[in-house]
């Protein structure tokens, strides 16, 4: 099985990997005069990086990337956003800061809700890029991050490799969220295309509280004892699925593919309970967001940046600090 997995590792951590899109340059952008003056005078640039929920587990890592960007010469980068995913809160904050920002990077919890504010900021002559979660319908200049459908597809492929046949449950803490729907469709596509021996029985919506998640997985497994594969779409149901499989002595019999590198996830990969996990490199996303804006303001032509997916199995999990 490990041999099989080896072939999946080719994607690796590729950064920055330029995707095909339209490169943009500041010459083609109606930059606000005050920002142009600041750039010309070599003053410090105020870059704001707005995240859709600064209280979730990625926020600290993305913030770390933003802080790395803040350390760049003549850059003051700030990490902002609402506590708890809240589109209104995110919009209000951006509106309040509009006159002080020289560049905005934004990860939007809701594409439709945030496109108008992105367009307003762009119309005010302030460059906007998206990171982590894209908003392709807006006037944003470029995107730095991982393609959600693509990452879902990667997860599906990995599942197919470790678990070519049998019944699968998909786990997500918010089945109705756009990111979840994107990853789910990517995963289902990949499974349907490459893995005709598998069947996705149900998508389980676990809720966000750790207890709730575990209970939901427990109930679902009891209701579907023939399940042999668990595909988690995010950070948090991954270790919960690991805990259930580990505690019920099903390690190896029920395969798990999930996302991210929470402490428990790393432990379970080491123990062989979780077969594979996909890292989104949130720190790299935070840094890329600042870096792209600074480059753009300084006249460089910029384009979408793929911060890549990192795939970890028991073979390479030791690389995680």
């Amino acid at each position: 099985m490990k041999k099989l997995l080896g072939t999946a590792l080719i994607v690796g951590m590729v950064w920055p990997m330029l995707a095909a899109a339209e490169p943009v340059n500041v010459k083609d952008f109606a930059l606000a005069q005050r920002i142009a003056d600041k750039v010309a005078a070599g003053e410090e640039l105020n870059i704001f990086v707005s995240y859709h929920d600064v209280s979730n587990e990625f926020a600290p890592q993305i913030r770390a990337g933003v802080e790395r960007g803040d350390a760049l010469d003549k850059v003051a980068a700030k990490f902002i956003g609402p506590v708890g995913a809240d589109a209104d809160g995110q919009i209000n904050e951006i509106e309040a800061l509009l006159d002080t920002m020289d560049g905005l990077a934004i990860s939007s919890v809701s594409t439709d809700a945030l496109a108008p504010i992105i367009d307003r900021v762009v119309d005010a002559g302030i460059p906007v890029i998206t990171y982590n979660t894209d908003n392709p319908d807006s006037k944003r200049l470029a995107f730095a991050g991982q393609d959600l459908i693509q990452s879902g597809r990667e997860a599906g492929k990995l599942m197919c490799q470790v678990h070519p046949e049998g019944k699968i449950l998909i786990l997500t803490l918010d089945a109705a969220a756009q990111w979840s729907l994107d990853r789910e469709s990517g995963a289902r596509d990949a499974l349907a295309a490459d893995c005709t021996g598998t069947e996705v029985v149900q998508t389980i919506n676990t809720g966000t509280d750790p207890q709730e998640m575990y209970a939901a997985i427990e109930n679902a497994m009891l209701g579907n004892p023939e399940i042999s594969g668990l595909l988690s779409l995010e950070c948090c149901t991954t270790p919960a699925a690991g805990s259930w499989v580990d505690r019920n002595g099903k390690a190896g019999a029920v395969k798990i593919v999930g996302f991210d590198l929470l402490d428990q996830t790393v432990e379970f990969v080491e123990k062989g309970v979780i077969q594979a996990t996909i890292d989104q490199a949130p720190e790299a996303q935070g840094f890329a967001a600042v870096d792209l804006l600074v480059k753009f303001l300084n006249g460089e032509t910029i384009d979408n940046v793929d911060t890549g997916v990192g795939i970890y199995t028991s073979e390479n999990i030791a690389e995680v600090n």
């Binding site: 600064v54 926020a59 919506n205 009891l222 428990q264 432990e267």
Partner: protein, 337 residues
Amino acid sequence: MTGSLAQPATKAVKKRFSRFGGRETGVALALLVMCIVLAILNDRFLTTNNLLNIGRQVSLLGIMAVGMTFVLASGEVDLSVGSIYAFCGLVTGMVIVAGYGLFPSLMVGILAGIVIGIINGLLSTYGRLPSLIATLGMLSMVRGAALILTDGRPVTVNARNGANPDVLGQFTFLGQGAIAGVPMQLVFFVLIALAGWFLLARTSFGFRVLAVGGSTKAARVSGISVEKVKIAAFALMGGLAAFAGILSIAFLPSGQAGRTGLGLELDVIAATIVGGTSLAGGEGTIIGTILGVLIIGVLRNGLVLTGVSPFAQEFLIGLVIVVAVAIDRWTIRERRV
């Protein structure tokens, strides 16, 4: 199904109802009907394994609902319990990760919960804020404090992060262990429910809680210190929410301040109200609360077992809450006129 209650009862039957609470009969019947339907729909429902699972799944909710019964019965409400649950669980986790022993770690968490509860009580009595507002503020403040304290990072209680392996073993036993096959969480829930029942039904404190909730004025005329009773109810709630939060992090040795216990207060209040405790105060029993908790737990479990879609589950849970409380209120109306 509750119509039979409205029939003129013989004296003996009436006496039994008044002693063991005719109030709970409606909820008990609702639970029974749900269980029968689920047992017919899915043959895995009635397995020992599944019943123990349900027991464990409702334990933390149940522990908090016992506390909430006191708060609601005293005529107040506590919206901050989900935040207390997160804050105190995470604090205890952090203390253990910092290498301290089991007892001091538990004490820090539980005391933190009691202190927050006392603050809730002080604001709602001497501070003259409606408890709805006071605890709404605390809901936000306590979660904010948890985020500040953890810097938004998940807290994972494991040896790698610095926990003493012996302490870790004891701590995880509290959440994950079992005695004679019964999960520890369920053991704690049963013990706390028994103690809560005794406290509410058999002690002068419970009496005072019900009196204060029934009529502040009448309680004062009886020489009861309304403020102290309410503060004590909030403190009890805080301590129990903290303990539930600690068990949560002991069970899944990881928590995150933005996520753990989010929105839990509504589940706790819903379970308590379904169990017949009056939002207006003065009425409430622990037996009713346990039934309310079980209704919600059995429903969650049963809906997944029978393969109902996640979105339909949300709808059905809400429906059952409304129907259960409606049946309860209608039967009371019948009895009270």
